[in-house]
């Protein structure tokens, strides 16, 4: 599969996920209508929409606050800015996004923002110190690729939708338990179905969101390799991230999917399968293997 085909199939998946979200929300509205009647369900949806729009508008700033990122002036690190400028030019971005620095020793990077005017690249101080220029450029190219491929926008949208569904679910539950009115004369099967829908919808939304994020990491790796014309640099950078096991302090479920590698450590052992379902990122070995195959090279095997 070529990069163009990959981008195209990814767009199809994106459309699918957006439709799936729409269906989820519709199922949700139907389920909550059982408890609250039509007017209640419509009110809830309207509230969810308003909340979603607010979150969407302020997403960049909210993520900056959550991850403790602060803007970096060009004069503070001209070398880093040069790399970002070059990568932006090579990727064909109309403007160079600003850099935000996260004061954290764990090497990691992310891109955030819902609109072109608010989008930025976040880099931890650990990444800046650890990475040689060639690999740093690859990491930046990965983030710029997320921006160019409109991943950042979609991921932010997905995060907002997950938030909206979780919030509506929470609300509908409270309404269901605190106002028993009207629920007694309903069909018990309908009632059970509604409860199941209310429980499963947020989980399904979460899994969709994670699956989306995992696919996009492969695509961003491939795009970064194409932007720099250097798949090996991307693979080497991922290898370096793989060797480092530290975690980013201010990253959690809400922001994990934005980073280049999972900022929280994955679970090994009995819980591995369940945690696999909720992993935001594919294993680094798989991503390195994909790059090796695409570029026709092999990194040296890790010392065991």
């Amino acid at each position: 599969m070529t990069l163009q085909q990959q981008i195209r199939s990814n767009r199809m998946r994106t459309a699918f996920v957006v439709v799936a979200f729409a269906v989820l929300i519709a199922v949700f509205a139907a389920a909550s209508a059982v408890f609250m009647g039509r007017a209640g369900a419509i009110g809830l949806l309207a509230f969810g929409l308003a909340y979603g729009l607010f979150a969407w508008w302020n997403a960049g700033r909210m993520i900056g606050t959550l991850t403790h990122a602060h803007p970096l002036a060009k004069s503070d690190d001209p070398e880093l800015y040069r790399l970002v400028e070059n990568v932006s030019i090579a990727a064909g971005l109309p403007a160079t996004p600003p850099i935000y620095l996260v004061d954290d020793p764990a090497p990691n990077a992310f891109a955030a923002g819902s609109r072109p005017s608010t989008v930025y690249v976040g880099v931890t101080t650990g990444l800046r110190k650890l990475m040689p220029p060639r690999e740093l450029e690859a990491v930046l190219a990965h983030e710029i690729a997320h921006i160019r491929n409109r991943d950042v926008r979609l991921m932010t949208l997905a995060a907002v939708l997950v938030g909206v569904i979780a919030m509506i679910s929470d609300f509908a539950f409270r309404m269901a338990f605190f106002s028993g009115r009207g629920s007694r004369d309903r069909n018990p099967v309908q009632l059970i179905a509604a409860v199941v829908a209310l429980v499963l919808a947020p989980i399904a939304a979460m899994m969709l969101h994670m699956a989306l994020s995992r696919r996009r990491e492969f695509l961003a790796d491939a795009s970064a390799a194409a932007i720099l014309n250097d798949p090996e640099a991307m693979a080497l950078a991922l290898r370096r991230l793989q060797l480092d096991t530290s975690e980013v302090a201010y990253a959690d479920r809400a922001t994990a999917h934005l980073f280049i590698e999972s900022p929280t450590r994955s679970v090994k052992g009995p819980g591995a399968f369940l945690s696999g379902l909720f992993q935001t990122h594919p294993p680094l070995e798989d991503r390195i293997a994909a790059l090796e195959e695409a570029g026709g090279f092999r990194l040296e095997a890790l010392p065991a």
């Binding site: 070529t2 070059n86 030019i89 492969f218 194409a226 014309n229 994909a290």
Partner: protein, 208 residues
């Protein structure tokens, strides 16, 4: 689409009351109209796609142009800086000046690419001359110019990668079926690549 709306009730009506031959004719006409409409929509989509890709190529070229101009503005300062220490190296200065002029006159990506490699060689000689003058190499002005030039060269290389990628996409789009049937007639001509220096890495085909 309007035609369908008008035709639809007629079809249903004739299905009930008219002889079979008429249904066949109406159906054939509808199919023909449908095919023409689909082809028309396809042509519009293809045309818009080619226009979009051509605009991307133009943007890619203007990105390169910005950086080439920036470098052309830096070169006289650089020549002056070296002249201050090595005034007798006239041959090198002339070569750089000529290459710079050729670069400024180049109007197509192909010409610009050829001029670019000449200029690269001339600048290489200029820096080789500068190596012999420790005072020059230590001067802040020269170091600043050198770092600006390196930065611009990197940006030209980056802009070239993007431009060549857009040219590849555009050329592929207009030279493949079915766009190639009418691309030439509607004024879509293949574009030139901006040639890479010898020092550049060969393009890697990234695929999965």
């Amino acid at each position: 689409m309007n035609r369908f709306k008008h035709a639809d009730p007629t079809l249903r009506g004739s299905g009930r009351f008219a002889p079979r031959a008429t249904i066949g004719l109406m159906t054939w006409i509808l199919i023909a109209v449908g095919i023409v409409l689909v082809l028309l929509v396809l042509a519009v989509v293809l045309f818009n796609r080619m226009v979009r890709l051509r605009n991307e190529v133009d943007t890619g070229w203007s990105n390169i142009d910005v950086q080439l101009k920036r470098r052309n503005d830096l070169i006289p300062n650089l020549v002056e800086a070296v002249k201050g220490y090595a005034a007798h190296e006239r041959g090198v200065f002339e070569e750089v000046t000529n290459a710079r002029a050729a670069m400024a006159q180049a109007s197509t990506p192909g010409q610009a690419g050829a001029a670019d490699s000449l200029l690269g060689m001339a600048l290489g000689k200029l820096f080789a001359v500068a190596e012999a003058y420790p005072d020059l190499k230590a001067s802040t002005n020269f170091l600043q110019l050198q770092s600006d030039l390196t930065d611009t060269e990197d940006k030209i290389a980056a802009a070239r990668r993007y431009y060549n990628a857009t040219v590849l996409g555009y050329n592929n789009a207009i030279q493949t079926f079915p766009a190639l049937l009418f691309a030439g007639a509607s004024g879509f001509r293949a574009r030139e690549f901006f040639a890479a220096d010898q020092g550049d890495r060969a393009p890697v085909a990234v695929s999965f």
